[in-house]
């Protein structure tokens, strides 16, 4: 990929007009419309909410060390796992990759100066923080005990916890998500640099485009569902209450219409990161680029046709269950295609096992396990046995933590030098990655076994025979927690003491690597004209030989 103005690899001095130096003081950050600063604002708030969610997980795993419900009463335990799920899903997983990496990188990858609607972008962050604070306030006022899925009629009629406040927090955060989706759709369609056709785009961009479609099409449905739950609580209309003629399964339909595509909002951007990491650390273009690009769109579309697989035992008709089961098999295909293509990219690549690559490789293994167990769950008959057990819990943690969080960490390490002009310490980082991988598996693999053996989810007590597996799981959680603490420390450390880097420390392909590290406030001195496709590693290596 050639550009009309390119910084030399040897130029290690950061520019004075880089986006971090452009204005100091809290106002220049809180009133910024620079997509790069907004990305960092998200990074900070996401880390805070991840910590809150993580603390609740610690409490849950502590309770589950012993078979008796002896640490917390069941009503309190219900609040613990609900807050864990709510903060992790709505205030970490959903925004994480798009808000940090999408915001920072999309304009750079597109050769643009900012996203389509910079002020809307800032509003998105404020809405996200407001939503998070509302949920935090709800937590301080006693929290919610409905489970993150807040099923009716418990949530809409019988719960005595802070349902409305918490749901309002999610509503507001959902609005943030919708506006981000609108912003990205407009940006990707309308702000590509000259010569940057759709099939020259990095797969990261395709992934975020598909994600944005889901954000726009799905989120409003959960928003209106939340409104209905609030109305039901306040006015007892009966829309979800069987005692008044309503159908609680209708709630589940409306909830999962969004919440299933929501998991694709979480995984698609992570898959986008994966394509970038695998290509960079194999120094090869991604195998089957057009197929991988289209598979993102396929996941977005097919993902809307499968929501009933969460409802096989809810009272939904068997016919509907059959249809949803069949379609769920179909949605696994594009995801599998991606895994095959990444693996094919690794084959005969020039591999280097730096930290981002370790996370990427971890993703391939863990996401495969998570994805396959998803197919087990999509089989109607199997699901009847394992629904609402720890099998489901293990499945979604494999895809969400083993998938999304691993990709997030890989991306964080890959683009950290771009964000801050500083490299993280490689050996500590690799250690942390291995710890996270090991801790994760120790935490969640036993849970597949527990679920299959019959341990229900959301229970604070269990039969004696399940204790060994639970203890292993909690031990794993401690390792996992330690693993996450390490990056928190060394990444912060690197901001001051990390080795300074030039524009392209990884010698990676991509327009973002042609700017200085950190990038200038306006991204590009001159908007580049693009003449090659993405992942032009062969050309890049040839140029480097010529330079040397």
């Amino acid at each position: 990929m050639t550009t009309s103005a390119r910084s030399s690899y040897l130029d290690a001095e950061p520019r004075e007009d880089n986006y971090l130096a452009a204005g100091y003081g809290i106002k220049s950050w809180l009133l910024t419309v620079d997509h790069k600063r907004i990305a960092l604002l998200y990074l900070i708030s996401l880390t805070a909410f991840f910590t809150v969610g993580g603390l609740f997980a610690v409490l849950v795993r502590l309770e589950l060390l012993t078979p008796q419900g002896d640490l917390f009463q069941s009503e309190i335990y219900n609040r613990l796992f609900t807050m864990h799920g709510t903060f992790m899903v709505f205030f970490f997983l959903l925004p994480s990759v798009p808000a940090v990496f999408g915001n920072f990188l999309l304009p750079l990858m597109l050769g643009a100066r900012d996203v389509a609607f910079p002020k809307l972008n800032l509003l998105s962050w404020y809405l996200y923080v407001a939503g998070g604070l509302l949920s935090f306030v709800a937590m301080l006022a006693g929290g919610v005990d409905t489970g993150w899925t807040f099923y009716a009629p418990y949530s809409s009629t019988y719960a005595n916890s802070q349902v409305i406040v918490s749901a309002l927090g999610i509503f507001v955060a959902g609005f943030s998500s919708i506006l981000t989706g609108v912003n990205f759709i407009a940006t990707i369609h309308k702000m590509r640099a000259p010569g940057l056709t759709w099939f020259r785009l990095p797969l990261f961009v395709w992934a975020h485009y598909a994600t944005s479609l889901i954000m726009v099409l799905g989120t409003p449905v959960v928003a209106v569902t939340i409104v209905l739950v609030a109305i039901e609580r306040l006015f007892h209309v009966g829309v979800f209450d069987p005692a008044l003629g309503g159908d609680p399964v209708l709630f589940q339909h409306l909830f999962w219409f969004y919440s299933h595509p929501a998991v694709y909002i979480m995984i698609l951007p992570a898959m986008g990161i994966m394509s970038e990491l695998i290509a960079a650390f194999s120094r090869k273009r991604v195998f089957g680029y057009p197929v991988v690009a289209i598979s993102s769109l396929a996941i977005a579309v097919l993902g809307f046709l499968v929501w009933g697989h969460h409802m096989f035992v809810s009272g939904q008709s068997v016919f509907a269950g059959f249809v949803f089961s069949l379609l769920s098999m179909l949605v696994a295909v594009p995801s599998a295609i991606k895994v095959f293509n990444w693996t094919a990219t690794l084959y005969r690549g020039s591999l280097s096992f730096r930290t981002p690559m370790l996370y990427a490789l971890g993703f391939i293994g863990l996401f495969t396990i998570g994805g396959l167990t998803g197919v087990f769950l999509a089989s109607l008959a199997v699901d009847v046995h394992v629904h609402d057990t720890y099998f489901v819990v293990a499945h979604f943690h494999y895809v969400m933590v083993g998938g999304v969080v691993m990709a997030y960490m890989g991306g964080l390490h890959f683009w950290w030098p771009k964000f801050f002009g500083r490299m993280y310490p490689e050996n500590v980082a690799r250690t942390a990655a291995v710890l996270i991988f090991a801790g994760f598996n120790l935490t969640f693999f036993p849970q597949f076994l527990l679920g299959y053996l019959g341990m229900p989810r959301r229970y604070h007590a269990y039969p004696e025979e399940f204790q060994v597996l639970n203890v292993l799981s909690t031990a794993g959680a401690s390792v996992l927690g330690l693993g996450f603490l390490l990056p928190l420390c060394y990444l912060a450390w690197s901001l001051k003491y990390g080795r300074k880097v030039g524009p392209n420390p990884w010698h990676a392909a991509g327009l973002e690597w042609t700017t200085t590290s950190p990038p200038p406030k306006h991204n590009f001195d001159a908007i580049p004209t693009v003449e090659h496709g993405a992942y032009a590693y062969a050309e890049l290596d040839a140029e480097e030989v010529a330079h040397a």
Binding site: R113, I185, A186, V216, L228, I231, L234, V237, G246, I527
Partner: protein, 218 residues
């Protein structure tokens, strides 16, 4: 296409290259937003369809409690406001400052008439005791599911009214900007985008009206 230099005070925002790119991007952005609005109301229409299927008698009875006269009147008013809004956009396209603002004011007036009528209608429902959770005392022998019908009626028309109020607030801003000469034939996208939003509000009502007021009338 002549490139227009990005100036701090000009109509072209710093991150766009041309006014046309800015216009196309804003139009696309508003349409993406409208897509999510369709899905938001879609969720409510989905509830309507389900409960109409489950309780057809209640929905027929519920419709009889509504006034087709007021409903038709409001439909005429709202479509009229769509006309005035479209004419406001046209005035902006032609560079007519006061026409733009004037038509927006007409739109606002019609919107207020609509909301006034809804206020009257809601008042009648209060007297009849047909507001679930607020004043609910229907006649004995009311169809099963009538409470759900009226819950949906108030939720759907209430959400619609809320969107109208938001529209009214936006109209104030746009009208003021129009009077200050912020729009021109080359840069009227603010008015166009407001128009798209307002027409969407009209579209929702075009479906709400027959579904709530007319089905089962005969």
């Amino acid at each position: 296409m002549p490139e227009l230099a990005a100036t701090h005070h000009g109509p072209l925002a710093h991150h766009f290259e041309t006014l046309e790119q800015q216009k196309d991007t804003c139009t696309l952005g508003m349409w993406a937003f409208l897509v999510q609005e369709v899905m938001f109301f879609g969720g409510l229409f989905a509830c309507y369809i389900v409960y109409r299927f489950l309780y057809p008698a209640a929905f027929l009875e519920g419709a009889h409690h509504l006034s087709p006269a007021w409903g038709t009147f409001n439909t005429v008013v709202l479509i009229g406001s769509s006309l005035t809004m479209a004419l406001s956009v046209r005035a902006a396209q032609l560079g007519r400052r006061r026409g733009t603002a004037g038509f927006i004011l007409a739109t606002m007036a019609l919107a207020c008439v609509f909301l006034g009528v809804k206020w009257i209608e809601y008042g009648h429902k209060f007297e009849d005791g047909l507001i679930p959770g607020v004043a609910w005392h229907p006649e004995p022998g009311a169809a099963h599911g009538l409470r759900i019908y009226f819950g949906l009626y108030f939720t759907m028309t209430g959400m619609h009214a809320l969107h109208m109020v938001v529209g009214l607030v936006l109209m104030v801003f746009v009208a003021l900007r129009a009077l200050r000469g912020r729009y021109s034939p080359d840069n009227y996208i603010g008015v166009e985008v407001l128009g798209l939003y307002w027409h969407f509000v009209d579209l929702v009502w075009i479906f709400l009206f027959p579904l709530l007021y007319l089905l089962g009338r005969h």
